[in-house]
Symmetry: C2
């Protein structure tokens, strides 16, 4: 099963069906009482995160798996100001790697966008839904979850509750004998730990498969002898290389951070997210995490949320933790992220679509002229913050290809063009 990551882009090797042809509503997944057998996506169904089924599944994880709530509390939501801009659809950009110019409107279907919301100066200038999503629905954030966990971590660091120079084993003795034990909290948060852990889904021997098996909240197969929870698995990760030298994007770091946060605060990531962000920011929906067999939230990829609430997090990042004149967390938490991580360690990893970038607090920092930084999740999830343009873009998608290299060519330059359009408009 699941969620740790990258899915299987097998279908994408040939030309996959278009957004329109793979629309989950048009395909009729799970419609009817009961749905026709060939249109059921149920549990257990090893196939539920394959394309095009995943275009339904991204909005319905809780119907397939146990989950833990992120409560919005009981009060009224804080309204988002609306200032729609009819000109945005016509904004034009050139895809990365060349090709014909494309409009913003055309990029949405090209990227199998399920929902996209743009805030400019705190007001909603653009909001569209498609596929399985509407404004009252929720969507899997995939690895955008990491950045939310990372933000909580940076908040704790900025408040002095979590020492980023501490070795992990001093906080989590259970990890003393694992690769994480002698890594610093900061190395975990920048993903420069040296781990013998592969997230290559094309390799059947990759450790990610064992991680997924350990993480599943469903009964283990007969004869299964491996770890049964996130925590048990994390203790088995072996070292490889030297901490601090090379950026290595591995989900296990996020779950170690989730564990560090829980041990430090006495709250699960789900509960802390509710207390520190979802309640005070006036979220309009609860969110939730998928969990393992002992209820541990999947800090590396298990969050589902409403698009508008994801955008609210982005606006908080843009405003350095302030909302309506109230400070929700120290500005230093965002400042650390914006400053970025070790660019040399990042360069050694060779991420061709983010040249010159870095990774800090589990956010991707572009180090471009606008100082943009972004959360990214497989199949096209994104929370993109451009401080210069005072623009936030929240985006849920169900692209057939897991890796964001498939949608970066028609999303990153679109974001930049939109930023320029909004700045020019001012």
């Amino acid at each position: 099963m699941l969620l740790a990551g990258l899915g299987l882009p097998a279908a994408a090797q040939e030309s996959p069906p278009s957004a329109e042809a793979s629309d989950p509503v048009a395909l009729g997944w799970m419609q009817g009482f009961p749905p026709p057998p060939e249109r059921i996506i149920g549990q257990p169904d090893a196939d539920y995160f394959s394309f095009p089924k995943l275009r339904w599944t991204v909005c319905h994880f809780r119907e397939l798996l146990p989950t833990r709530r992120v409560s919005r509390g009981l009060g009224a939501p804080r309204a988002l100001a609306e200032a729609p801009d009819a000109g945005i659809d016509a904004v034009t950009f050139t895809p990365l790697g060349g090709g014909a110019p494309m409009t913003w409107a055309a990029s949405l279907a090209a990227n199998y966008t399920d929902g996209i919301l743009v805030l400019h100066r705190g007001r909603v200038v653009y909001e569209r839904y498609a596929g399985c999503l509407d404004e009252a629905g929720m969507h899997g954030a995939m690895s955008v979850t990491k950045s939310i966990t990372g933000l909580l971590g940076e908040i704790l660091v900025a408040e002095g509750a979590l020492d980023e120079t501490a070795r992990v084993a001093t906080i989590l003795p259970e990890l003393a004998d694992s690769a994480f034990g002698n890594a610093t909290v900061q190395q975990v948060m920048e993903m420069t730990t040296g781990l013998d852990f592969s997230e290559d889904y094309a390799d059947p021997d990759a450790e990610i498969w064992a991680y997924n098996a350990a993480a599943s909240p469903l009964p283990k197969p007969e004869g299964y002898e491996g770890p049964r929870t996130y925590y048990e698995f994390l203790a088995t990760v072996e070292p490889e290389g030297i901490h601090g030298e090379v950026f290595g994007y591995r989900t296990v770091n996020s779950d170690v951070l989730g564990w560090l946060i829980a041990r430090t605060t006495g709250r699960s990531v789900a509960d802390l997210l509710s207390e520190r962000l979802w309640q005070p920011m006036g979220a309009e929906q609860d969110a939730y995490f998928t969990v393992d067999s002992i209820g541990t939230p999947f800090a590396g990829g298990g969050l589902s949320a409403g698009l508008r609430d994801l955008a609210r997090v982005g606006q908080l990042m843009l405003d350095g933790g302030e909302l309506d004149g109230e400070r929700l967390f120290p500005e230093a938490a965002v400042a650390r992220i914006r400053q970025g991580g070790d660019r040399q360690a990042f360069a050694r990893a060779g991420y061709s679509n983010l040249p010159g970038g870095s990774y800090r607090g589990m956010w991707w920092v572009l180090h471009n002229d606008h100082g943009a930084f972004t959360a990214r999740g497989v199949h096209g999830q994104a929370l993109y913050v451009d401080p210069t343009a005072r623009m936030v873009i929240a985006r849920f998608a169900s692209h057939p290809v897991a890796g964001n290299a498939a949608n970066d060519p028609t999303s990153l330059p679109a974001y930049q063009a939109l930023a320029e359009y909004l700045m020019q408009r001012e």
Copy 2:
């Protein structure tokens, strides 16, 4: 797994630990990262609904099972007016069957109450939480779910969308060869169908076990050949006796009603509940249903909700479907329920704690001087409406004994005493 029903009161044969001694917070279930092994309630854990673990589980079904949301929508909740009455704790009553007089306050611990809210003339006069619950939490409603499903059914009947005189097979041809096929919708809604179906949990051959196995959303055991969904199971139920003669409290009727509702409206019970009640009544929390392997909500017992939202449903029942001068559903839907079902058919079933009562629209009608009617769920769940006293009581509990006969002696007369107190106070 389960939830269809009644749990296993084995622990209650001896004297079970008190509410204080079995408090789930004091016992430390699921506290810590990870919790100590002996304090884990995880999935799969065949034991998770045994006492005292169930005192934790009733607030955490979604962490153990796939679920489907009942959305409250995105707006602000409608506030409940508050008018706390400090005199209620001292209200005194004599338990059914005699015994020493007891105060209202003492009855709460005696009944392992997790949350209780009293509305009088639409205002909150009393609200208390204990055990696993607080005002921002949710709790399993168990068979109170049936009454919510029943209300939706009565609304559709009152609106003319569902013909209560129709034979079930004319709406659900899949059930033509089952016991339900030639029963009327009304017989289903009054549970006077003649079914070869036992809900006696003490009998290992009772059909309820096969129902639970079919209903589980988890992978079926190796070699399992039985039905795999609620719908598949319902088609296998055999007839016994004659429809309309005897009341027989069987959960399968509620799930047939849930199916009738879905086929009639094109919406699952979860979605219809959101549209017809949760959104318009201004619920302050989403609610949710547990589901089977194809996402079918458990209409007979799968609802979890906040206490205050359950109370809002009760107030709507009291006010005949009106809220703040707005009509949410036809008054006839409540009038049918208050009028009651076939009292002779009910008497033949011999429910000793509800003498002279009846069952209509999946509500228990007391036919007492106050015209009270109530929803009831195992382990002490209740939504009690007293139209004469203009009182609504919503109650969640985790009594060690499943059957309400164990808590009726210290709850039903307490409700009556409180009604008299509130009327006298006026």
